[in-house]
Each structure stands twice: as structure tokens, then as C-alpha cells.
Point group: C2
Chain length 337, copies 2
DNA sequence: CTGAAAGCGCTTACAG
DNA sequence: CTGAAAGCGCTTACAG
């Protein structure tokens, strides 16, 4: 398979390399007939420009980095997919970096900025903490999804997120309204002041407000996976068999927990209610279907891409956008009143 | 944030650009002290080479393309993840292209070959058919995963796959041994002679061998998603309520089907048995847990990477490797004898 | 063991 | 509307 260069095309079309480049980049200043001839040649030889050479050009490089932390997380997968699909309208190329939950997304961002001349960056599954320091001094526009980047200290970072604290409150209100007072908390969020800990704080403070004391023993640190949800729920219910509800900080944890309960001879929701979070697709199909908080994936994706586009193309100031999430009542939570 | 070039580093370390390049590429011919000095400078300024410039170099370019067709497919996601993780040992960079199930992976491959100078290619979720023609004449080593590439007509393509036909037979034997004779077939595979149609053929011919007539009405074309599995199963059971078993050609279809059956007032496996395929993680956690064919994801990934590496580095001839898959008996299938 | 120079395939002022 | 030339940041013969 012959790989043609712009020079080949120029020769074959009987024009200069400059002219081919102009056609390739849809510049207006090419005579109609010339353009047609060049386009025909490009089509004939299936010519596709070398991106490496293109990326080496002086000025603006139209590559956007998408860094996804948490490979096998269905929620982040769905979000990434939506972002990718929204980003198709952009003139830029997207470079996707999938990294493990234990990897440092900011180091990856740093590397990406140097490796390719990136004009924008989107983070999926990032947790903002002191590690972000490595990006100080960068002027590449970026947007954080599902976390509030207001306090990241990055003057060129936007963010799109739900109000995790408020949603945490609403979940707790819901569970309390159903008569639950012994509620297990499965997830993570004890540490920093990010969206995950806000989510947990919302739950915790609401319980407190209703005089439901929840000590540390009701919280189990769980990674956001089915396996961890299973393990945590299993060991938790061995110790606290009289618990009537679980707040799983992700749907994956919820799915693992439901299976663990079944293996312990308990039925959901008859014996125990399980409240999920995120609203991943599978939650509609499981038995029982998941009661959960549905993050507006399409809206987060669309807003993120728009924000980034606006920053890149118009030099817009970063913004921190809040979007609405809905509680979806399905089958995994019931009232015990 | 300053972005340094190799020239900056050369100047700062008091050596030539050539020497920095040598250090960067771990060439042996650099004096120990010089190397140390250059390395220190690189570390000090967090220098990372520009990949675009690197990719533009004359000879071998160490970039491998990974083309994944079928974005939200959990099985392909797991496989891709495993490949990515195995590929970390390689000196090459990986460029991942996620494309939709309706997109043409071979056009993507073609573009990738031109865009970046790729030295190898791995396909995930590809179906080999006449579209592969666009790659004729390419001499880039490639490997197909989960499909048998023997008949692709590509002299530089390896493949790693299970014996779909044999597994299809075993699934059918299993179902028949459980007393099922009215078996719905949900999936795809009527057309070409690829792994999916082999899978279906295995089932079909085994049924025939046992004198179980299965006409077209028992087959429903379903995309490999929970939603399609749901819709197909729902409409199917409305028409054929006396069916006692389903062979879902993927676990996602199985999960959708189980939910559809529930919504029709049928229980799995009490009323209907559902046999899945692929062995995705969630199948362990669903209620009922999925009886399925488990594809050896790690082995497929490892073998694929090894094969590609061997072709790239040693010019090894392509091979078509068959790996073993296991039937996992869990809860979704029961004997009705 | 080290460096000067050519060149990878593009884009972009600059000149016409 | 078109083209010749410089240059992006690397690597790689080549020379020493």
C-alpha cells in the first residue's frame, strides 16, 4: 500500500505543495478549478495527511486530549463516549488516554502537553487535589467533568458537575422518608473536599439533622467496582445484619452489594433497600432495577465540549457549570413504614 | 508552563542535540558522565520529547494502533483494557481509536496508517468481510482478536480467537441435555463466514443433529446490547410464550433478555433458561448469575500482543491462534427434565 | 564517545 | 490566486 505525501499529490495534480495544503485546510484562496483538480487527486489516491508533520507546525495545533481515569467504570465510559460523540463536531482531533484509577491524571496531562502540542484538555474521572500543582503555569484550556473545579486553583480550568452535596441530602431524605434509620454507606470520600466527599457529607449531615447517628462503623471504604461493592457489602452485613438500607456511592457498588446480600440470604428490596448513584444503563435491566441518582451524561458531555470550544476559539473565561441530576425511583428501594 | 525542546536541554546540559537524542533513546554510545548530566537536566526540567517530531523521523516509528469497534460493549472494553495493560511492556506507544459499531474499522485503519506512521495494528470487535480489501497491499503487521483471520486474505495478519463453532455446539448440547427443545436464538451471524456466524452455525447444526427443528422464526436479529436484548426477547416471547430457553449470543443480550422475561412475568431460570456468551464481569453479580461461555480475555490479550511484537520485531510470519473458552455454569440455566 | 547537517511531511509568512 | 522557502523538533547517517 503506497503512502502518499503532500508532495506526491502536488506533483500528480500539477500544483505546488502550498496549494495542496490550502485545499487540505479548506482555505478560501484557491481557484475553483484548481481546488477541484486537487480534490480529485486527493480522492483518487485516498490521500490522508501525516498528522505528525501537521502537529509539528508552528502555530495552533488542533488536538484535544481526553484523559479518562478509571478504565472499567461504566459510568465514566458512557460519559467519555458522549464526549467523544459531541466532540466530533469540533475541527480538532481527539487523543484519548485511558489510565488506571491508581494513575495520576495530572502527570498524564503534563506529558500530553509536551508530547503533542495540545490545545485543550478534558478530564473524566479526575479527583482534584494537590497533585494538580504540576499543571500550574500551563495555559492550555481544560475542563473537568463531574467534579467542581472552582477551587482547583487553575486559572484556565472550567468544570461541569452536579451538586453532589444537595443530591447526597436528597438521597438521605428519601431513605429516611422510607423509614430507614440503619443505613450502610459504601464508597469513598472521607478525604478531600471534592465532589465525592461532598456527596457523602450531604448524606451524613442530613442523617444527623434527623438525629440519626451514623458512626464510622456504618461507612465502608469501597472502590467503585462491582467486586469491591460485593466484598464490602458482604463483610458489612456479616457484622451489621440488622441494617435495612445501603447507600452505594455508585451503581457498580450497588450491583455488587445486591449480589452480596442475596448470597447472605437477603433479598433486595424486601429485606434491604439499596440506593445507587450515577444512573448507568445496566441499572435499568438488573433485578431489581436500581433506584439511583441519574447524572445527566449527555448534558455534561455537551456542556463540557461547548465550554472547551469557547475557551479555545474565543478565549472565553473559564466557568463552573452546575447541571441537574434526577433521582430515579425503580425497584431496589422500598418503604418499610 | 515552559515547554522545552531537545535543543533547550542540549544547551542546558552543554552537549549537542544529537547526544540528548541518544540519551533519550537509550543508545549505548554515550559516556557515563555525559549521560548522567543529560539525564539530570531532563529530569530537572521535566522534559518530554515532542511525539510529533519523533513520529516524523525517517525509519521505524514505534506507534501501535488499537482499533476498538463497539464502544459501549463491556466485553470488548475488558479485552481492550487487557490489551492496553499487556502492551505497556512494549517500547511502542499505543494510539487507541474507539469507533462505533456502525463505523468501518478498516477505513479507520487505513487512515491511521497514513496519519501516523504506524508499525502495528490490533483490531478489537472487527468483523472480517470484503471491506478488508482497503488494507490489501499494506505491509503493516496486524492482529485480529476474537475472530479467525485465516481467510482474511491479508498476508501480514495474525489472529487470536476461540473456536466459536465448537462452543456453539457445546452450548446447544448443554441446553439439550437440560431438556430444552424450544430454544430462542438472539444475536447476529446469518451473513458472513466469520466467528459470529460460526457460533450460530454450531448451535444450529447441533440442534439439527438432535432432530430439533429450528426455523427462522426462532432466530431474532439483535445488536449486542442490553437494550436490543431486551427488545428482541420481549417481542419474541410475546409471539412464542412456550419457549423454554434462550441462547443469547452475548451476555449483554442475555441481561436484557432476563429483564424482558421478568417484565413478561416469567422468571429465569424457573420458567425460562438463558445462556449467555463472553463471560463479562457483571454476569457474576446479576440475579440470576449468568451461565455463559467465558472467553479467556487475558490470554487473548497476551497472545495478541506477543504475536504482534514477534511480527514487528522479528519479522515473524503471521499465525492464527486458537484459545480455549470455558462454559461457566451459574444460575440462569436449569434442567427441566 | 561526540557533533554538524540533512531531512521527515507538513504549514505559514512572504513575494509576486 | 499561486509558489519558493523557512522552519516545526526530532533522528540518523556521516565524519571525526
Amino acid at each position: 500500500m503506497e503512502v502518499y505525501t503532500i508532495r506526491d499529490i502536488a506533483r500528480l495534480a500539477g500544483v505546488s505543495v502550498t496549494t495542496v495544503s490550502r485545499v487540505l485546510n479548506h482555505r478560501p484562496d484557491v481557484k475553483k478549478e484548481t481546488r477541484a483538480r486537487v480534490e480529485a487527486t486527493i480522492a483518487k489516491y485516498n490521500f490522508v495527511g501525516n498528522e505528525n508533520a501537521r502537529g509539528l507546525k508552528q502555530t495552533d495545533n488542533e488536538v484535544i486530549g481526553l484523559i479518562i481515569r478509571g478504565r472499567s467504570n461504566p459510568f465514566l465510559n458512557a460519559l467519555s463516549e458522549a464526549i467523544l460523540s459531541r466532540a466530533e463536531t469540533l475541527p480538532a482531533n481527539i487523543v484519548t488516554e485511558y489510565i488506571d484509577e491508581k494513575d495520576d491524571e495530572f502527570k498524564t496531562a503534563f506529558r500530553l502537553m509536551q508530547q503533542r502540542r495540545i490545545c485543550g484538555l478534558i478530564f473524566v474521572g479526575s479527583r482534584i487535589d494537590e497533585r494538580v500543582g504540576i499543571l500550574h503555569g500551563s495555559d492550555v484550556p481544560m475542563v473537568f467533568t463531574t467534579v467542581d473545579g472552582k477551587n482547583a486553583g487553575l486559572p484556565n480550568a472550567s468544570s461541569v458537575s452536579i451538586d453532589d452535596y444537595a443530591l447526597g441530602c436528597r438521597v438521605a431524605e428519601d431513605l429516611i422518608a422510607c423509614g430507614h434509620t440503619r443505613i450502610a454507606l459504601l464508597g469513598t470520600g472521607r478525604l478531600s473536599g471534592d465532589s465525592l466527599s461532598n456527596r457523602l457529607d450531604g448524606v451524613l449531615e442530613t442523617l444527623k439533622k434527623h438525629s440519626i447517628v451514623t458512626d464510622d462503623s456504618m461507612f465502608r471504604e469501597s472502590r467503585f467496582s462491582m467486586k469491591d461493592g460485593y466484598d464490602c457489602a458482604y463483610s458489612f452485613f456479616l457484622e451489621h445484619p440488622d441494617t435495612t438500607a445501603v447507600f452505594a456511592m455508585s451503581d457498580t457498588i450497588a450491583i455488587g452489594a445486591i449480589r452480596a446480600l442475596r448470597d447472605l440470604g437477603k433479598s433486595v428490596p424486601d429485606d434491604v433497600s439499596v440506593f445507587g448513584f450515577d444512573g448507568i444503563e445496566i441499572g435499568r435491566y438488573t433485578l431489581p432495577a436500581l433506584t439511583t441518582v441519574e447524572q445527566p451524561v449527555e448534558e455534561i458531555a455537551g456542556t463540557s465540549v461547548d465550554l472547551l470550544k469557547d475557551m479555545i476559539e474565543n478565549g472565553a473565561a473559564p466557568r463552573h457549570v452546575r447541571v441537574n441530576a434526577e433521582i430515579i425511583h425503580r425497584e431496589s428501594v422500598r418503604s418499610i413504614l
